[in-house]
């Protein structure tokens, strides 16, 4: 947004740095060096994943970092070992349902808390922020007992329901709503729209960036969710990609070539969503922190 703000920044006046002067270009060079190192460390595992998928497990074990010719073998092994269409469908279905419902319920609440303030609702909001600090580990056991009493173990509902009202996302939407211009709402009221119409016809289209950032966060969380699905999904045909690929690594002699091929497939959806929505993501985050 304001990336290139203030082009008037003065021409590089040499700062006085005390008793001795470090030439300016040295600092600059160090910055580039460290950033390049950080970028290398961040990207290398991705490179490793792609290279690994083309090598035999033995070669991966001894750190071969060049492309091999085993891609087809690894792919074939992967597709014969696991029921790929099924596990990816399970993952996608859970992630999509989870994302849509979370965004719907939590953005409504975030909007509601910000737009219609009352003392009582502010108290509820404060209590919610307190609950935000309760770790999932503390909820895990009672949630599981509850879900089994509802006879929901092994259903998509069991995976998705507990996360739909996300305090973090409600908080995020409330923060972002502070930037929603009040004049827009007033104008809509004059035009005779009711509160729900204002939300759907005015607020939703205006807050696209906020929703995009939330989609990235929530979709990634759902797609990558591990602990809770591990607990509530007990039938093999319901397991998600995350669960199945993870169980491959814990075998006695894991076939890393095949597993890395699987991890590429498991990473692609989040990568694609991220790159599609990246620009909006940054804008959305800016809106929420302001």
């Amino acid at each position: 947004m304001t990336d290139q703000a203030l082009p008037l920044a003065t021409s590089r006046a040499e700062p006085r740095t005390g008793s001795f002067k470090v030439p300016h270009y040295v600092g600059r060079a160090i910055t580039y060096l460290l950033l390049s190192l950080a970028a290398f460390v961040s990207i290398f595992p991705f490179f490793w994943m792609v290279v690994g998928a083309t090598n035999r497990s033995v070669d991966i074990g001894i750190g071969k970092a060049t492309f091999g010719d085993q891609l087809l073998v690894n792919a074939t092994n992967f597709f014969t070992t696991v029921d790929a269409p099924r596990i990816f469908w399970n993952s996608a279905f859970i992630a999509l349902v989870g994302t849509v419902l979370t965004l719907a319920i939590s953005s409504l609440a975030g909007y509601g808390f910000e737009m219609f303030r009352s003392r009582f609702r502010e108290r509820i909001f404060g209590l919610m922020l307190l609950l935000l600090s309760i770790p999932f580990a503390a909820l895990m056991v009672p949630l599981f007992v509850m879900i089994s009493q509802f006879k929901l173990v092994g259903t998509v509902a069991a995976v998705v329901l507990p996360g739909i009202a996300s305090i973090f996302i409600i908080f995020y939407f409330r923060q972002a709503t502070k930037a929603f211009p009040g004049e827009l709402r007033d104008a809509a009221r004059v035009d005779g729209l009711n509160e729900w119409q204002i939300f759907f016809y005015i607020y939703l289209p205006t807050m696209r960036s906020t929703y995009a950032a939330a989609i990235i966060i929530v979709f990634m969380a759902n797609w990558n969710n591990y602990l809770w699905p591990l607990i509530v999904l007990n039938k093999p045909e319901q397991k998600t990609a995350t669960l199945v690929i993870s169980s491959l690594t814990s075998s006695y002699t894991p076939d890393f070539g095949m597993i890395l091929f699987g991890t590429i497939l498991a990473t692609l959806p989040t990568l694609i969503i991220f790159f599609l929505l990246q620009r909006r993501f940054v804008e959305g985050m800016l809106g929420a922190v302001k």
Partner: protein
């Protein structure tokens, strides 16, 4: 900001917008919390339990595995969170410089790890840090180490490996919060400081850090909560081993509930230790942040 009185229809609308979320939070959050609080005073196996008073708390103090999990978790917290917050801040400040080239590339590269799925990155780290793996090979090639490190078999290095893994995954995530907040800092302040002769380090320490304090506090608390709940990484990379050296409280709760004969009361007690730690540490961080501003 000034709050106009809400009309009656608006008041009702306010409730309808938040009601679905409140109902869900009541069922899936408030009720389980109260349930587990009650449960932590019950003893017994499976669904047969009876009131045990403070029996579970006494059991905690005598349970060497719990003590080890507690110490491990706190070790991860004390070592990992400051390193990550520091790195994220430095990266954000460096990337906030409008004269820096390839900013988009660096920003995306550093953020990329947190887009990966947990399972992808645990698998990658497991294979990269094998004894004969690529990381040891590189370190030996650069003459940083002479002998390969037994990352997965040595209790000390296994802890380091977990710390490296979490730092790799979450630094970029925290960085984005700082980058966003830095957009609001008026650049002319930096120019003024520069003219007054403040060095880069001074500008960072006396301008950037105080300006970003609310965001730093927020991310520190979020990271503290995340680290206290650490589960996925240790379960997938080291399974809590070798010899419980990377066992965390969350993993212990999971083991107590779903691996051993379930002891719901005792595992609820362990989980309330985490709640207590989060509460105490968040409060301490708030107090420290307030003191520094005086």
């Amino acid at each position: 900001m000034a709050n106009a009185r809400l009309g009656r229809t608006e008041h009702i609308a306010g409730w309808t917008f938040i009601a679905p979320a409140l109902v869900l939070l009541g069922i899936f959050m408030l009720y389980p919390i109260l349930w587990s609080l009650w449960m932590s005073f019950q003893v017994g196996k499976g669904m047969n339990f009876s009131f045990g008073g403070f029996a579970n708390i006494i059991r905690l103090t005598k349970d060497p595995v719990f003590i080890r999990a507690l110490v491990n978790t706190l070790t991860f917290l004390v070592v990992q969170v400051p390193i990550m917050i520091g790195l994220a801040l430095l990266a954000a400040v460096a990337l906030n410089d409008p004269k820096l080239r390839f900013r988009g590339f660096f920003r995306t590269a550093i953020f990329l790890p947190c887009v990966t799925s947990l399972i992808a990155y645990s698998t990658l780290f497991k294979s990269m840090f094998a004894t004969d793996g690529i990381v040891n090979k590189m370190l030996m090639g650069l003459w940083i180490i002479q002998e390969p490190i037994h990352w997965l078999q040595d209790p000390f290095w296994a802890k380091i490996l977990i710390i490296i893994a979490i730092t790799w995954r979450w630094t970029g995530y925290n960085m984005v919060f700082y980058l966003a907040a830095l957009q609001n800092v008026d650049r002319s302040i930096y120019e003024a400081a520069r003219i007054d002769g403040a060095s880069g380090w001074h500008r960072f320490w006396y301008i950037t850090v105080p300006m970003l304090k609310p965001v730093i506090l927020f991310t520190t608390i979020i990271s503290t909560i995340g680290t206290l709940q650490l589960f996925d990484e240790v379960n997938n990379i080291t399974q809590g081993g070798p010899s419980d050296s990377t066992l965390t409280l969350s993993l212990y709760i999971y083991n107590l509930t779903f691996k051993f004969m379930p002891s719901f009361g005792y595992s609820a007690t362990v989980s309330w230790v985490i709640v207590l730690l989060v509460a105490v540490l968040s409060f301490a961080q708030f107090v420290i942040a307030r003191d520094r501003s005086k």
